[in-house]
């Protein structure tokens, strides 16, 4: 009997101690999980009430979505589809304002491009002091982190309103709003990439007498650059969408025209503009996806 007990591997002191520890850990984790789900449930209940998000309201509202969409559809007649701008029912009639749209669309893309470029530059400068493995001073780290948080916590549209107020109506306000938000969002992503960088090469540069800037430039940047590029392109896609909305508050781009035609119930023009935006966003998404693939496989030289 004792013989049998002794040979039971689950009865060894080391195993028992381990099992006890494991039970404790599991109990603790379970308590944590229960608490988490309870809080989540309460939060959802509260927010459903606050937002008046009730199924019957949703069901009652849904047909109206259809009504509006239907109203914006152009009346196209197959027989005169390719006639000029004066023939009702032709494509050209629907898009009689195309030159203006294209100009505004170009402005929108430009805003996104410049906003992304400026924001990425800001993120590139701020991401290194915001990575805890790269700075010794917790003060600098905390300060840059908080700054980045502020930049991305405030929605673009709020910055846009502020800058329209300060610099007047036009794309400058939009560009600045995009740049600040982009710096905040990308700065955080960049610093997280930095924090996963292997420390060996950094020590290699430091041990050879490199300065902090040189460590960042030669040991960190080459390792993270493909990721940075990929994130910046992703942000560009997001910024194209955002910049087409910023016009609603007068910050330039096609949003201003969209806002105008919506307010004045120029239904057919709403669908014309939305379709243009969708096409633009989709093609830029596709293009940027290709670029990102290329960035991932790219070699780095000094």
């Amino acid at each position: 009997m004792t013989e049998h007990l002794r040979s039971d591997p689950t009865d060894r002191p080391a195993v028992r101690a381990f099992e006890r520890h494991r039970q404790e850990l599991r109990a603790k984790r379970r308590r944590g999980a229960i608490l988490f789900w309870a809080i989540l449930l309460v939060a959802v209940a509260v927010s459903v009430n606050v937002a008046q998000f009730f199924p019957q309201r949703l069901l009652a509202g849904l047909p109206r979505v259809g009504d509006y969409l239907f109203a914006t559809l152009p009346e196209l007649r197959p027989d005169v589809l390719f006639e000029g701008t004066r023939t009702e029912g032709s494509l050209a009639y629907w898009y009689f304002n195309l030159p203006k749209y294209l100009l505004l669309l170009a402005e929108t893309i430009n805003m996104a491009l410049i906003g992304t470029a400026l924001g990425t530059t800001g993120a590139l400068i701020l991401c290194f002091p915001a990575s805890h493995n790269l700075v010794r001073s917790t003060w600098i780290y905390t300060a840059t982190r908080r700054l980045l948080e502020f930049c991305r916590a405030v929605p673009e549209i709020i910055f846009a309103i502020l800058f329209v107020y300060t610099f007047g109506v036009g794309p400058l306000a939009g560009v600045l709003a995009l740049a600040i938000h982009t710096a905040g969002a990308l700065g955080k992503l960049f610093s997280e990439v930095n924090e996963n960088v292997p420390a060996g090469p950094i020590e290699g540069v430091r041990g050879a007498g490199g300065s902090w800037l040189q460590e960042m430039r030669f040991a960190v940047l080459p390792q993270v650059l493909p990721n940075f590029l990929s994130y910046a392109l992703l942000r560009f896609e997001i910024n194209i969408r955002s910049s087409s909305i910023l016009g609603f508050v007068g910050a330039g781009g096609i949003g201003q025209e969209l806002y105008y035609v919506i307010s004045f119930n120029h239904y057919e023009e709403v669908s014309a503009i939305v379709l243009l935006i969708v096409l633009t966003v989709t093609s830029i998404d596709l293009l940027s996806a290709r670029l990102r693939q290329m960035a991932a496989g790219q070699e780095q030289f000094l």
Binding site: E203, A208, S211, P222, Q223
Partner: protein
């Protein structure tokens, strides 16, 4: 001459270095041995000032190294090149760029940040690679090289620093026997031809015996042996490693550089 006086280093409660006193004359090839955790890496990192000593003094040619900061500290690190067990190359950069990193302490700050190195620097880098038989791989990405090749690139990087001292932390611990031999021979050649002081942490007795002028043994942060290779008898080695440890040491064949000699001794 490198002089260490009563150097201490503590990590919280762990005393990684205690009362370390060491004089290393210029041009010596010194091997540091000891069990895992004895403080060998800490010793080298403290000399290079990758880590600061908790107490004591480190002097080089009369200059107190422990007090340096800022540019002077970087210049000091430039003068005592470091070679790591894991090579610590920047994998995504090509080989020549990695070697050029050894010039950072000497190039203008702005020029180097823009990635601009002089023709002369590039020439030095190529010549250093050639000495280590690696010039053919100059434009290859560093992470495409084998471990032994990467370590030779790391030595080339150290060479272009034109250092007074070369600190090598287990330079051959992750290499196969043949690569290990090439690397050790390169270190000894640099030591003999350029008169650069070499301090190498080694984890096999044979390697230390075969290549070093002098051996220092560490145990629990203290230097407990300091002498010529032939003075390191089996008894002294047992003191260093403990009797179990010594068995392990002798059973270790993987990265030993002096395989035939060792086998002969075990057979005897």
């Amino acid at each position: 001459m490198l002089v260490l006086r009563d150097v201490e280093k503590a990590f919280g409660k762990v005393r990684a270095l205690r009362d370390v006193c060491l004089d290393v004359p210029r041009g010596q090839m010194l091997g540091v041995i000891g069990r895992s955790g004895a403080g060998k890496s800490t010793l080298l990192r403290t000399i290079n000032r990758l880590g600061d000593p908790s107490a004591g003094a480190i002097r080089f040619d009369g200059v107190d190294v422990t007090g340096l900061a800022g540019r002077e500290l970087m210049a000091w690190r430039g003068r005592c090149a470091m070679i790591f067990q894991q090579f610590n190359l920047v994998g995504r950069l090509d080989v020549i760029s990695n070697v050029l990193l050894g010039r950072l302490a000497r190039t203008g700050r702005l020029a180097s940040l823009l990635g601009h190195f002089s023709d002369e620097d590039r020439a030095r880098a190529i010549l250093a690679l050639e000495r280590l038989d690696m010039a053919h791989a100059a434009l290859q990405r560093a992470d495409t090289l084998s471990g032994g090749q990467q370590q030779r690139v790391a030595i080339a990087r150290a060479l272009v620093q034109e250092p007074d001292i070369l600190l090598a932390d287990e330079p051959i611990a992750s290499l196969d026997p043949r690569s290990a031999q090439l690397v050790m021979e390169a270190l000894r050649r640099i030591n003999r031809e350029d008169g650069i002081t070499v301090i190498a942490n080694l984890h096999t007795l044979d390697t230390a015996r075969a290549y070093c002028d002098r051996i220092v043994g560490m145990r629990e942060g203290r230097i407990v042996f300091d002498g010529r290779p032939d003075e390191l008898t089996v008894e002294r080695a047992r003191e260093l490693y403990g009797s179990d440890g010594l068995e392990e040491m002798l059973a270790e064949t993987v990265t030993s550089t002096a395989l035939p000699a060792r086998l002969a001794r075990v057979a005897a």
